[in-house]
Amino acid sequence: MSDTSSNPDPHEFDAVDHSHDHHEGSYLEPAGGVWATIKQWALTKDHKKLGVMYMFAVLILFFLGGVAALGVRAELWEPVRYKTTTTVNDQGETVTTQEVTGQIFNVGRPKEEPVTDADGNPVLDDNGEPLTETVRVYNLQTGNETYNRMFTLHGAIMVFMVIIPSVPAALGNFFLPIMIGAKDVAFPRLNLLSWWIYVFGSIFAVASIFLGGVDTGWTFYTPYSTTTDADHWRVVYMITGAFILGFSSILTGLNFVVTVHKLRAPGMGWFDMPLFIWARYATAIIQVLATPVIGVTLLLLIMERLLHIGIFDPNLGGDPVLFQHFFWFYSHPVVYVMILPGFGILNELLAVHAHKRIFGYRAVAFASLGIAAVSFIVWGHHLFTSEGSLAATVFSALTFLVAIPTGVKMFNWIATLYKSSIVLNTPMFYALAVLFLFAIGGLTGLPLATLATDMHLHDSYFVVAHFHYVMMGGTIMAFVGGLFHWWPKMFGKMYNDRWAMVGAVLVFIGFNVTFFTQFFLGTRGMPRRYASYVDEFQIWHQISTIGSYILLVGFLIEGAVLLHAMIAGKKAPPNPWGGMSLEWETESPPIEHNFPHEPIVKHGPYDYDEVVPPHWDPKDYPLPEGAPSHHEPGHH
């Protein structure tokens, strides 16, 4: 802590200085008329506005991806079966008809059929060519295809357009500069560009849905992805969308690395940064180093589809497993782009609402970097059943390395709760839920990293359950927790904690009902991406489907609570929870340039037992015995 003689008051440079002449309005203040406001938002270079726009885009796409997931679950309510009915027609003949049951969505498929006359002879057009007409075909196969498009849609939207930008771009944009005391990110124009690239890429990807949907799976494995729907452009649109989205991710990551390096507030050394920043920094490194590879991969894939260049095409001597290496060199690190910021938020939630410094700050910070580093050498565990046995062995050994920093983080978080002082509000509930769910997600990773068991579990529902526990239980839950944590700061409005808690509990229960069953499905032999299944699995699938609809109700309640807060919530104080990091020192919502003048950091982000939080009265916040008394803020 600071040397007492030189600076007795840690809040001397407190950023909110009401006596200051220069008064700036909140960043949310509209500019004149409607068009001016739209222009103000569309062309803004303000990281906060961009963060808010990212957030709403992500939430809208989360809804879209969620609807697809609910469709998938509904389809799996019962297996696809033929139902044979025998009837006797007018002539007294028995007629057997078969219909497909268990498919609730079937958009069919257009098909050119030759036109025939009553005798079955082809009808010729003026040029003597056989006339054709387009009919729409509905059968078992087209129903399955509809299902395949739904899960592809779900996967692609959730991965490329929701989880990757959720915490990193939405909350990261809003809070990273504020938390390090900067006025903005290093390159605000680049940030704006990044946002519009994201919009553009998403439009491309979503357009492919309206053109009929894509059934490649979000992993675009060749040679399936290069041959399916061969005469349509929509697959190319989807791949191009993902390609464009990659640039958005790269530019955001690049911007944040530079911001963290150059724009930290005076007094903020590397180890005075909040752990969210550490996590976001590690994420940015991965984004910069891994995303270009998906760029070249998807470029080659587009060329493969358009020109058949053959690099991934076995017919021309290319190798489909090479594609898998290319793809997972990006897509495994990107798993940590998804989860690391979730970890970062978890740190903030735990520290603020448990009023406790994160146990082993440096270990947690270095664990983030460690995970980022290891993430580049473990991608082969997605290929255990397709790659050579030696590579599988090496990758298995390396994969276990990830478990170590992750375990360290888990233990440190649990230890943080020791001697804490917990207020169990909605954000804290989400934090505990993430600990619970991520523990399951992480531990179920062990049998997937172990070669012998993965040979059974690979591409089964066990994997599906595992990554949903990590991606959704870890990242999305942390994201939603972060929304509740920072909503008062972002919009200056408090939400109804009671209803939010009801929603949170429903989400927690729904999530576990949905996905815990899938572990058993996986070990018992249910492959993933199946539109149908053997009858034995039906009970498990039905429980899972029920869970998914509980999840829907939970999320709808949460959405309503947040929207209600935005419209009609009580005004939020600058620091409702008693946080220590810099974002709590400014107004809620923050002013245009975040701080009236540059803040100078005088204490660590988690010194809960040494400093009264900014904007708090010492009598509401009794410091423990032995805390340096001079830290009580006196004057304001």
Binding site: Y82, T97, Q98, V100, K111, N121, P130, N139, L140, Q141, N144, D215, G217, Y221, Y224, A230, P320, H355, K356, F359, G360, R362, T385, S386, S389, S396, F400, G407, F411, I414, L417, Y418, K419, S421, I422, L424, N425, L435, F436, L443, L446, P447, A449, T450, L451, A452, M455, H456, H458, D459, S460, F520, R524, G525, P527, R529, G578, D620, L623, P624
Partner: protein
């Protein structure tokens, strides 16, 4: 330790179905259960601490009471770094040892060929035949699935390749899967289990057997979920008899054609009820006038069928994609004739069809000579 884990029957039954493989899959199950109990204990301890401290340090009623505590503890943190490191090393080694047993096949094994294509499995036996029986509809998937016969208590080695996209051969009861590629051969081996007494004495079965599902585990397109099969483990003598004479000489071609329609995977793309699939329906197909997108119209006769099977890209039916894989080497002449018999039977455009023609009638050579050759072969190898 192993025995302790092995004794946890209920947990094993919760997670796993019966085991159909005699060597490595038990190791795999044991490793899984070991990891499960390790994870379970770790999880319970962590969650117990989390909940205990959350309640003990609750500040939501009595107000925040910040406590002073250590910011870190190097000894403790090193401990919970080093111990997991050692544990994962153990996990890796154990997993690898079992994996080596999974991927390295013994020298003495029956070699079978597996051909995967959208969306069917085919196993070719040493005598050149494939599956000769199928399940009923709605049994595994909606479509009927081929049944592959495997002798009990025998090491089997599959050499697998794909005709189109990547597939993955997964028999959940063997706890093993392997991807199947269009550009290289991969292998999969297992040692079928000895049939248990309960299977032997089952009065519902014609002969003792035990069935295991076969799935495709790598997403391969529309009917990915229909790409199933049954591995049927039978007594050795049943297998020996079957492989000597896969189709009975008295079986009619129509009957065999129907079976092949499913077991060779035709069912995945061609319907027999007139509705349109990936390919044209076989109903009223044979003898009809066909329009092609890259060739003049043609009456669909036996030669046209033959060409469509062996060189599907040569003539592409109007309104259908060029998606069929060649069946060169996967359907032989006799089988093709059986299939044509089946096509004729459901077509109104032809009357040239003898429903009574049998498999034995197809053999051009004298019946006695063929029998003799087969018998002597059996004696040579069987003695």
């Amino acid at each position: 330790m192993i025995h302790l884990l092995a004794s946890v029957g209920p947990v094993q039954e919760l997670f796993f179905r019966d085991n159909g493989q005699a060597t490595y899959s038990r190791d795999s199950d044991l490793i899984f259960l070991g990891l499960f109990w390790f994870s379970f204990v770790t999880f319970v301890v962590m969650m117990a601490l989390m909940i205990y401290w959350t309640i003990k340090n609750r500040g939501w009623k009595k107000g925040v009471r910040v406590q002073r505590s250590a910011s870190h503890n190097n000894v403790m943190e090193l401990t919970w770094t080093i111990i997991p490191t050692l544990l994962v090393v153990v996990m890796f080694v154990v997993g690898f040892r079992a994996y080596a047993r999974q991927v390295v096949s013994p020298d003495q094994a029956i070699n079978l060929d597996v051909a995967a294509s959208k969306w069917s499995w085919e196993i070719t036996y040493p005598n050149g035949s494939g599956a000769t029986e199928t399940t009923a509809q709605n049994d595994v998937g909606a479509n009927a699935a081929p049944i592959f016969v495997i002798p009990e208590d025998t090491p089997i080695k599959l050499t697998m390749s794909s005709a189109d996209v990547i597939h993955s051969f997964w028999v959940p009861d063997f706890r093993m899967k392997q991807d199947v590629f269009p550009n290289r051969f991969t292998t999969y081996w297992f040692q079928s289990e000895k049939l248990k007494d309960m299977d032997r004495d089952n009065p519902d079965l014609d002969y003792p057997n035990k069935e295991h599902w076969l799935f495709c585990a790598e997403y391969c397109g529309d009917n990915h979920s229909e790409m199933a099969g049954i591995i049927r483990i039978v007594p050795r003598e049943v297998y020996a008899g079957w492989i000597r004479e896969p189709f009975g000489k008295d079986q009619t071609l129509l009957e065999i054609g129907k079976t092949l329609y499913t077991s060779k995977g035709c069912v995945q793309c061609h319907t027999t009820d007139g509705s349109s699939g990936t390919g044209p329906s076989w109903k009223d197909l044979f003898g009809s006038q066909s329009q092609y997108s890259n060739a003049p119209a043609w009456t669909l006769d036996a030669n046209a069928v033959r060409e469509a099977v062996y060189e599907p890209a040569a003539k592409i039916r109007q309104g259908f994609p060029n998606q069929m894989a060649t069946y060169q080497g996967r359907i032989n002449d006799k089988e093709l004739r059986a299939l044509i018999a089946y096509m004729k039977s459901i077509s109104t455009y032809t009357t040239d069809f003898d429903p009574a023609q049998t498999w034995g009638d197809l053999d051009p050579s004298a019946e006695g000579a063929a029998d003799g050759a087969q018998d002597s072969g059996a004696e040579d190898t069987g003695g």
